[in-house]
Symmetry: C2
Subunit: 350 residues, 2 copies
């Protein structure tokens, strides 16, 4: 990963997080869609043991979650925290999740494939994320027989994943490209390069909060390194375009107005819907990116973007809440987090 050495330069003004996902399947079993619950439970057990009983030091830090035992809020919160896919919780019977204690690694068992290894790292860290995924893959490979074909590579249920079985992706904050409308053209241009850019919260054009996921689509006839380098190159272009657009926008009074208003509302609102909150947090992040709020850091905003999601909100509070109660608690959570960063402790709030 020689090229990725540049990652050490700080890209956190644009890159929120890095994700690497490997799809793997067991040679001896049919794909999950063709298994009954009993078979699924057996596969889950096998994979669970392969991770938790490995001699690798990492193994001690994993825990196993039987998906059918979670409440609906706990399950949805896993999606909101980007630890599992929405599909994974749609039918939880016979599905298991192996989770690292700091939640940077999750292994979905019996999603579309038998095994989906996912590693999330904050900021731009393709090298770091790949290394961890590779390590987990090695641990599993010692105990399990992966479905692998010398010509095709890893076999997966969906043909689009055959080959490396790898998807690398970056979560990007692109408020300036969104504001200028350049994002639409970018989406179609990236498609031709074998990458996809999609809005994380809503679709690319109408979404609340300018958070996008850029990922590679090609897994066949390309090495992991090539795919990652390709993603990296394109990301660098996007980052550079975004930064240029920001510079042009930094003096625009309407943009500044919208950022500062968002800051004012986040500080004072007593009710915040999820949609509005995401939009305002995105605007606030834009303000931090433009250097307008020195006391607020990206981590605070990145965490808030997950914490304010409905199920995660309820999970953290520990009870079910009505929509209005959620809006009220969401406003409190945001206010507290921002005020803590912003204002001397002994200052009266209002």
């Amino acid at each position: 990963m020689d090229k990725v050495i540049e990652e050490r330069k700080d890209m956190s003004d644009v890159v929120i997080s890095t994700r690497i996902r490997f799809a793997r399947n067991l040679k001896e079993y049919p794909f999950p869609c063709r298994m009954n619950t009993e078979q699924k439970c057996r596969v889950a057990q096998i994979v669970k043991e392969a991770v938790l009983e490995s001699s690798n030091a990492l193994s001690k830090k994993f825990r196993y979650i039987q998906m059918s035992e979670l409440t609906q809020e706990e399950a949805v919160s896993l999606v909101e925290r980007h630890l599992v896919s929405p599909e994974f919780i749609s039918d939880r019977e016979g599905r298991g999740l192996v989770l690292l204690d700091d939640e940077t690694v999750s292994i979905m068992i019996n999603e579309e494939d038998h095994i989906r290894i996912q590693v999330i790292k904050p900021n731009l860290d393709l090298e770091g994320a790949f290394d961890v995924a590779d390590k987990i893959d090695t641990i599993l490979d010692e105990k399990l027989n992966f479905a692998f074909n010398d010509k095709l590579g890893y076999l997966t249920q969906n043909p689009t994943n055959i080959g490396t079985g790898m998807r690398a992706s970056l979560m990007l904050h692109l408020p300036a490209l969104k504001e200028t409308g350049a994002i639409g053209k970018t989406v179609s241009y990236l498609g031709k390069l074998g990458l996809v850019l999609r809005g994380v919260y809503g679709d690319a054009s109408t979404q609340k909060g300018a958070v996008y996921q850029l990922s590679n689509q090609v897994t066949l006839g390309i090495s992991e390194r090539e795919a990652i380098n390709n993603l990296y190159d394109i990301a660098m272009q996007l980052i550079s375009q975004e930064r240029t657009a920001r510079t042009a926008m930094a003096k625009n009074i309407s943009v500044l107005d919208s950022i500062y208003r968002s800051f004012g509302i986040l500080q004072y609102a007593k009710l915040l819907s999820n949609d509005e909150c995401m939009k305002l947090l995105s605007n606030l992040r834009f303000g931090v990116e433009l250097g307008l709020f020195e006391n607020i850091d990206y981590d605070t905003i990145n965490h808030l973007m997950t914490e304010v999601q409905p199920a995660t909100l309820m999970k953290n509070i520990g009870k079910k809440l009505t929509a209005q109660e959620r809006d009220q608690i969401r406003a409190e959570v945001v206010r507290t987090a921002i005020m803590r960063k912003q204002v001397p402790v002994n200052r009266r709030l209002e």
Copy 2:
């Protein structure tokens, strides 16, 4: 004015200001609509001298403004500061204005009538405003021959003013009655009692900012004292209704949300249109009325409501501004005024 003794109780949570207006005409001249410019100038000269050359101590504090000499912004600003009527500046030829140094007294010459004496006092002060208007009336009466009929009283161009020629009015802030929708019913009910309630900024139902003017309509067959007592009684009822509605509303999270958001936006916006600004200031005043912002006083908000008007903004800055420049300076004016009240001087703003 024995009844008005209760005025000493503080009503400033609802009453913004009190206004008394006398309409007077000179016996020797036709009504302004029937005079040519030369005649108007003569009347203006006569009235001007009657005030400025009187032996009364008050006379020294007046200045005379020939309306045709003002710029358009200066003229419009007089309307925004409620010193003259919009009609008065529509054709300024031959019209004059006598203004007390603190702008609590204005005498329009050659509006609909030859003379319109207007006294504005902050808060509820019908007695005080009437006394001043009466004093000015006496000064003028010494030098001028008012058109007066023993049976009808003062003669005015519009028959609806014949009699006392007096209009007494209160500027009220009624956010709770507006919010509950009770204001509509109140308007039609007041009509039957010979009073009128109208929105000061826009009409009663759609206006921005819940500021209303309550005034007496009957001038014939009723004494000044009766008219004022009548207005006072109705105002007390409205104040009581408004306060009751506020108490019921003080725990409503949506209302609190809207108030606190307004506060946040007023503090942080970089652009504020006049309409939005009036709405937000009205919400902020509501917050002060509910005791939510102890450091902000009614005077600050009352002043801002005038200061942010477009022509007054330009008059104070001393130059013509585009709409966007006004929105920007309006936001600055508001932010500065509110921050000064709110925050220790040495605190970083952002």
